[in-house]
Symmetry: C2
Subunit: 612 residues, 2 copies
Amino acid sequence: MKIALAQQNYHIGNFEANTRKIIDAIRQAKQAGADLVVFSELSVCGYPPRDFLEFEDFIAQCYASVDRIREEADTIGVIVGSPARHTAPLGKDLFNAAWLLYEKEIKGVAYKTCLPTYDVFDEYRYFEPGYEWNVIPFKGKKIALTICEDIWNLGDNPLYRVCPMDQLIGQTPDLMINISASPFDYDHDADRKEVVRQNVLKYKLPMYYCNAVGSQTEIVFDGGSVVYDAKGRLIKELKYFEEDLEVVDLPVPVPPLYEEILPGFSIPIHTKEAGEELVTPTAKTPGMVETAASASAPEAPALPGEPAAFDREMRVSKLKDPGKIIEYLTNTENIHQIHQALILGIRDYFSKMGFSKAILGSSGGIDSAVTLALACEALGKDNVRAILLPSPYSTSHSVSDAEQLSRTLGNPYDIIPIREVYEALLHTLEPVFKGAAFGLAEENLQSRTRGNILMGIANKFGYILLNTSNKSELSTGYGTLYGDMAGGLSVLGDVYKMQVYALARYINRDGEIIPANILDKAPSAELRPDQKDSDSLPEYDVLDKVLYQYIERRQGPREIIALGIDEALVKRVLRLVNTNEYKRNQFCPIIRVSSKAFGVGRRVPIVGKYLS
Amino acid sequence: MKIALAQQNYHIGNFEANTRKIIDAIRQAKQAGADLVVFSELSVCGYPPRDFLEFEDFIAQCYASVDRIREEADTIGVIVGSPARHTAPLGKDLFNAAWLLYEKEIKGVAYKTCLPTYDVFDEYRYFEPGYEWNVIPFKGKKIALTICEDIWNLGDNPLYRVCPMDQLIGQTPDLMINISASPFDYDHDADRKEVVRQNVLKYKLPMYYCNAVGSQTEIVFDGGSVVYDAKGRLIKELKYFEEDLEVVDLPVPVPPLYEEILPGFSIPIHTKEAGEELVTPTAKTPGMVETAASASAPEAPALPGEPAAFDREMRVSKLKDPGKIIEYLTNTENIHQIHQALILGIRDYFSKMGFSKAILGSSGGIDSAVTLALACEALGKDNVRAILLPSPYSTSHSVSDAEQLSRTLGNPYDIIPIREVYEALLHTLEPVFKGAAFGLAEENLQSRTRGNILMGIANKFGYILLNTSNKSELSTGYGTLYGDMAGGLSVLGDVYKMQVYALARYINRDGEIIPANILDKAPSAELRPDQKDSDSLPEYDVLDKVLYQYIERRQGPREIIALGIDEALVKRVLRLVNTNEYKRNQFCPIIRVSSKAFGVGRRVPIVGKYLS
C-alpha cells in the first residue's frame, strides 16, 4: 500500500487557505499513485485553535472544510484532522478527531485519548478524551489510527490511565498511523523518533507518523514526519522546519507478527540515567507516616513518600550532566536547531499576520545584533530596518558597531539620537521630580523614548517592531516595560544570554557578520555612565545555570544550591524571577525553542509571594 | 454539632501569612465552642497557585503548613485545602485535596473529582481527578466532603462523567461539607446558592459551604459562604467581598431522610428558558447523515447533530431577553456588585504586591474619572495621584473637568502638558517622517508620551500605574499599546463602556462626585482636532451588544446578525476584536467581573485568521 505523508504549514482559522493546501496535496499524492494520504493533527483549522473551538460557528467551518475535502477523496483515501462533535449526553462537546475519507464518504473516525494539558497545551479545556477504540478498515487492511500524544503513553506515562494502542492491538491491525502537531524544542528533540520507534517495537507494526510544520504565533512545529517498518527501521524521514510530501510504499507483513508482541512491554524512555538523579527535598512532609493512629482513617492513602517524577510531561531532557549546563545549552546541535526555529518563527509570524517588514532598535549590543541578523535571513535584508538610537550615555563604539553590522548585512538603517526627547521629558518632569538624583526612572525614560520612536516609525510605515530581549534579562526583569520590552514578536525571549553568544558565533560560522567587537565587549544597557549588566546581575554563565534549573527543570532553591551554587545568589535570582512576573505578563509572544518558554506555557501568579 | 465556616482572604504562596491566618481562625472557632472549623479550597497556598504547583518545593511547603495547622487541631476538627501527592504509578502526581485534621492527626482526605478546566481554570493541568470516594467519620457523624466544582455536577453536567456525591451517598453520610474557591462574576452570581440548594434537595442533607474571598491578581472571590439545612432552608449566609467567620449549630437529623432521596433526580438549572433559545447555524455539516454507506463504518458514532449546549461551563446567564442586553448589563444589581468587586480587586492587588500608592492619567473623560473614583475609595484619596496630561488637541473642558473631579475627591493631582515632549518627538522623527500627513502614528506618539511620563513618575516615587481602558475599547483595539494601554492593573478592562456610564451614575448616587459634564460629553480620545470615538467605532449601545454576544456568549456572526443587528457592522466589529488580539496579549491583568474577561480566561491565537 502506497501511503503519502503531507507535512504542511497551516494558518489557524484560515479555512480557505488550509483546505486549498490540503486539496493540492491530495491531488499531488494521487498523481504519485498513493492509496492514502495522511495530514497532521487538526489540519483543517490549524493547531492550536485554542478558544476558537468554543465557537459553534468555528466548528461548523471545520465540518464544512471536511465536506469539501471529502469530495476530493474519491479513489484515494484521506486522513485529516478536525474537531468532531461529541453528541453523548455526558462529556465535553468536542473530540480531537482524525477522519478517514474515501469514496467521498467518511469511512471512520478516531478520537484522541491522551489529551496533553501541560505547558503550552490545553486540550482538556476543549476535548473529551476518546473512550472507544476501533481499527478502521481500508482497502483490505486495518488501520490503528491515533493522534499525537496517544502514542506517548506506552503504558507507563503517569499522565494517562489509558493506552490507546493497547486497546487497538487486540483487533489485529495491519499498520499504525499517527497524526501529530508536536512542537519543537531543543531540549528533547530526539524523544519523538524514539517514541515512534518504541511503539513499533512494542506492537510489531509499521508506523506512519505525520507531523505539522510551521510556526503558530509562538509555537514552532518542526515537521520531521517519519515512517518506520515493523522491525523498527527508519524507512523515511521528512524534512525539518519545511513543508514536505513523501510517498512510501512499504510492504505490510500479512499477518503481522502479533505473537512476537511482548505482554507488558515497557519502554525504558522514562528511566533516570546515572548522574541525572535529582536532589530530593528533605523537608518533613506532614502526617500519615509519623502518626500511626491515622492509619485507621478509612480512606487514607499513603500521602507522602517520594516526590513524583520531576519531568511532569514525560519528556526527557538531553542534558545528562547537571555540572555541564552551559556546555549543553550552547552546544552546536542545539544552536543549529534554535537558529532554524527562530528563522521559521519570524517568517511565519510575519506572513500569517500579513506583514512583510520589520523594524528594530540596533544598539551595538549582542542581542540586537543577533536579532537583526536572524530577521534579515528570515525576511530579506531589504525588509528589515535597523534604528540606531544613541542616548547621552551611549558609547561611540555602540553606534559604529551597529553601523558596521548593518553595512555587512546590507539592511537599511537610520541613526536617531534620543537626546532631544529625553531632555524634553526631563524638563517636563522637572516640576514633579524636583531635582531628585538620577536613578532607575531616568534610565527607563530613555528606554521608553526609544520604544516610542520605534513604534512611531512602525505605525507610520507599517513595520512590526521586533523585540530583542533575551531570556536571561526577561527572567530577572532586567528591562524596561514599554521600552526595550516593547515589540510585536520576541525573537530571543526563549534564548539565554550564553546561547545568544553561541548563536552569534554560529551566524559568523562562515565569516564575520556580527562584528567581533560586539561579541567581545561587556554587556551594558548604556543608560548611565559606565553601566555594565554585571553591576545588577550575576555573571551570565552562573545566572543562566540557575535560570535553566529553575525555569526549564522546575527545581527549587534547595536542589539548585546543592549543585554548588552560592545560596544567596540562588535566592536572589529566584526572587528576581518571581517578582518580575508582572513585567513578563505584558510581554509580546516569544518564539518558543526550549522546553519551558515564558508565555502561554508558563502560568505563574502575579500577586504570588512564593520565593519572593 | 457546631461547625465554623472561616471565609478568608489568602495570598498565593505566602505560606507564613496564610498559616497564621488559619491558625488565628482555629483559635477563634475553638473559643466559640465549635467542634469543627472549615476553610476554603487550597487554603494553605491560596487559589489559584497555577504553575507553582509544578515545584516540588512548593508542595513541600504546603505539606509543612498542613503539619503546622495539624498541631492546632487538637480538640477541634479542622478542614483545610491543600495539594496532596498522588503516589499511584498512573495518573498525575497531585490531587486537589481537603484534609480533616483532628487530635493532631490527619483523620481523612477527600480529593476533588470534577476539575474545572475552562475559562480561568486549569485544574486538569495539575491534578488527577479523585477516583475513590469515602465519607469521613468525625465525632460520631459521617461527613461527605467535596471540593468546589464537585457539587456542580448533579449528574447532568456534560463536562463530567462522575458525580462525587452520588458516590458518597451510599455510605449514608450525615452532612455535606464543600470547600470552594468559586469566583465572582455578575453574569451568574445566583447560580452558586442555587447549586448548593439543589444538592441539599437532592441528597436531603445539610450542607456547609465555605468559599474563599479576596482578589488574586485578576480573579475576584466574593465569599458568600452558606449553610443550608436538610430541608433546603438557608440557615446562614456569610458576608460578600469580605472576610467572615460564623459558627452554626445545626441539629443533624439522625438518621437522615435517605428514603426521601429521589433516584435519578435532576435539577432544572441547565434547561433553556423560553426566549433564551440560541440561533443554531444551518451550515451543512459533513458526512454521516447524508451518506448512508458510511453507516457501515464499524466505529462511526452519529457525528453531526444538534450543536452542543452553548454555555460550556454550565453556568446560566441571568440575561433572559437577548433584546435587552444593555438594560441587563447596566442594571443596578449588576453595577452594585461590579463596584464592590472592583474596589476589592484594586485593594488586594496593591496590598498583595506590597504597594500602597496609585497613579493614573486623568483625561477628563468618563473612564479615567470612574477609575479615579474607585481607586480613591479602594486606597484612600491621599494614595491616588492623578496626572492631567493635556496635549495640543485637548479641549479646555478636559482639564477643568478633571480638576473639578480631583477637587471633589480630594486626591492630589498635577497638570503636566505633553506638548514639549510631543514636539521634540516630531522634530526628532522629521528626518524619517519627512513631512508625511498627520495620522495614527502622531496620535500614538501623544498617547505613548503620556505613558512615558506616567511611568516615569511611577518609577520615581513607587506608584503603580492604574490603567483606565474599558472593555469596549480593548475589544476593538481602540487604544495605543504602551500609551493609554500602559499600566500595572486594569480597573475597567472587563467593564463595557455602557457599564462605565452606569458605574459613574452609581458613584454619584448620593451626590455628584463625577462632574455631570464628564457624563454628558461625547467620548473622545482628543488626539486630533474634533475627534470623537464615534468616528471610528459604532455607537456604544450597539457595539456593547455585539461584543457581549460575541465575547461572553461565544455567538458567531450568524447568531448576532439574527438579533437584528446590521450585518456589515457585526462583521466589522468581530474583525476588530480578532485582529487586535496582539494588543490585548500585552495588556496588564484585568479585574474580572464578567463571565468572560480578557486575560487568562480567554485564549485566542494571535496569528489566527478566523473572522478576520
